[in-house]
């Protein structure tokens, strides 16, 4: 169960994993996530599903090395098994025929955006996708995105690929050019915050997918709670997608950093053990 079938690095710290998970492959929809636990002593972390193949019984996850668990996962090889994998969790994305939808993905946020772009495309929308990253190496899944988007705009901070500038510049250019009916923005919290500030200026309804800290992921613990429209919501069961204009971004970012010290210490310790073993 949960065998890693394929592993492909997009860049030094980002890889795509295809995992054997027949039940989830069948039941998943755009917007869903899974919780994984690598081994007996591992923690439970949420990862949004980037793709799935019900025929082959596999799901695709895109993982960026940010701490102990992601580093351990990226060190695993094809053929290795993930001890626990549960899902699909969260609410599926609300897909409809909105008209023109502007999708913006930053960093590995592009991965969870892919199934949404695909579903929006299949529902008959005109989809314009903005992919953003610090440099060329960090622009991922461009080919897949092109397949389901009417247009793809690439933005890099250093101008090494596409246009130079932030994701918001790319978004604004599209909004100024044509009528946009809806927007979906997924990426780091800070990118979603400013991405949604941009769409708000033009009153374009905007969805974001939040990646808060979780433990069980099934609505039991409340670690993922966040203030949305002044009310406390649980990202794992009420989300992960929310109306971007209602999210309390400062609270979201503070809560994301709850274990910053512990995570940093654990990661340093992990790097030391890896080095000793090498």
């Amino acid at each position: 169960m949960n065998k890693i079938i394929e592993k492909e690095f997009f860049s030094e710290n980002v890889a795509r994993l295809v995992i054997d998970a027949p039940d989830i492959a069948k039941s998943r929809k755009a917007g869903h996530f899974v919780i994984i636990r690598l081994d007996e002593k591992g923690e439970r972390i949420p990862l949004t599903i980037a793709d799935g193949d019900p025929e082959k019984g596999t799901i695709t996850l895109v993982v960026q090395k940010v701490g102990v668990t992601s580093a351990k996962l990226l060190a695993m090889n094809e053929g290795d098994e993930i001890l626990d994998l549960v899902g699909p969790l969260g609410k599926a994305t609300h897909i409809d025929k909105f008209g023109t939808v502007l999708c913006a993905g930053g960093g590995v946020g592009v991965a969870p955006l892919l199934p949404i772009v695909k579903a929006l495309h299949e529902a008959g929308n005109r989809v314009i996708t903005v992919l953003a990253g610090r440099n060329k190496d960090l622009i991922i899944m461009e080919d897949e995105m092109r397949k389901y988007s009417d247009e793809v705009v690439i933005m890099t901070d250093d101008g090494s690929y596409g246009k130079q500038g932030l994701v918001t510049a790319g978004m604004e250019e599209v909004i100024k050019r044509e009528k946009v009916d809806k927007s979906v923005v997924i990426g780091p919290a800070i990118m979603m915050k400013f991405g949604s500030f941009t769409t708000k200026k033009y009153n374009i309804p905007t969805e974001v997918s939040l990646n808060t800290i979780m433990v069980d992921g099934t609505g039991m613990c409340g670690a993922c709670r966040i203030s949305v429209g002044g009310k406390t919501k649980f990202v794992c069961v009420d989300g992960p997608e929310f109306d971007a204009f209602q999210v309390d971004w400062d609270q979201m970012m503070t809560r994301m950093g709850a274990y910053k010290t512990e995570e940093h210490e654990a990661y340093q310790k992990y790097l030391e053990t890896v080095q000793t073993e090498a």
Partner: protein, 495 residues
Amino acid sequence: METIAEYIKKGRPDAWRAELRKSMKAKERTSLERVVMPEQDPNVRNKNIEEVNFGITEEMAVVEAHRCLDCPEPTCTIGCPVGIDIPHFIKKIESKDFLGAAAVIKQTNALPAVCGRVCPQEKQCELQCFYTQKLHKPAIAIGNLERFAADYERNSGKMSVPAIAESNGIKVAVVGSGPSGLAAAGDLAKMGYDVTVFEALHEIGGVLKYGIPEFRLPNDIVDVEIENMRKMGVKFRTDFIVGKTASFEDLREQGYQAFFVGSGAGLPKFMNIPGENFNGIFSSNEYLTRINLMKAAYDDYDTPVLEGKNVAVVGGGNTAMDSVRTSKRLGAKRSMIIYRRSIEEMPARVEEVHHAQAEEIEFMNLHNPVEYYADENGRVNRMRVQKMELGEPDASGRRRPIPIEGSEFDIDVDLVVVAVGVSPNPIVPASLKDLKMTDWGTIVVDKETMQSSIPDIFAGGDIVRGGATVILAMGDGRTAAVGIDQYIQEKVKAN
């Protein structure tokens, strides 16, 4: 089918029991003192996670069993939600047939070592005991004896497996592996059904694993009872969320004829006061799950938990006691209970309150949090509480707490655990549009059979009750097992 009363009456006339009753005068029996459960020293145990209670010895158990009068109308049994034949197992202990005692308990209780530890016996069997009711003396220590019998059997290495009816090959799914699910699964397996328990988490046991701490219920003990259920033929599937991983319809297509939903507590309740989402403020579910299920306090486990020096736990139930005692064990200098009513109104077991007091937990009764404050990193560093006084009794029969205006003051805290209850888990109801629910998010069932508005779906435990005890959940599981059996028999006959 025989009723519980008939089942319990059946064994009393047996010669060995009649003999035993005659072997000692009632007066001698009632003059014996109730045995006291030996426990770890409070100042030692509040620094370790070993079990607080050691359990009683064979000698103590036999003496305690002699106190039981083997009443003709054993009122104690009325107090037991799973219908244990209490006098029968106690008389087995008196005659030193300890394995026999365990076998009697296991006829109706799938988890005796668990119930012997966490049941509120003082509100159930022991409350209804002849000693409590008529003699106004301390009740027979039924809970301690139950624990003794279960532990004796486990340590003997001769665990018996209850008699299983011949397999009927009919598949039944149990959703959730907490107390209600395990009780239902055990009874259905005994009836010959092919039972699979689906669990969302990576461990079997539900609240017994993620909620109740080691010092009250060691995980190893839960695992032994689960192993025993495997021997009874019950299958377990972890990391599987019915309603998500597969739908009820998918499982029907796979041949499942009926479902028992014991999906338990879900969303933790918060008080919706300012600052409640600051870092360092946990629900009790999160705090206990990190520590009990994920073992966050151990260095070699990856899950972290924030450390607290000044810990406030809001609430007065067993979960609040578990949380506050856990915080002390993890090294808090000051661990406080903040509860809006007085100590008498606390819903926690008396034993747990006493244990907490002995472990130097501070009780701030008649206080209620009104706001939290945080440092520049968003970590809670202070809470404002308001004093309360008691007014007239409310709907629950307890005196209503009334805030005293202008009585607010601040307490330094760096970790807060909110233990003010939970709402039922929303996943199953969200996946079944036709399922009839109450306004509180619980599943509506027929109390006699635990059948929901969807005929092949039965439910029990916290998903029906909102929030209750392990043993009430188990009682629901047993009732539902009978209901499911009747439902399937009728369906089979109709075809």
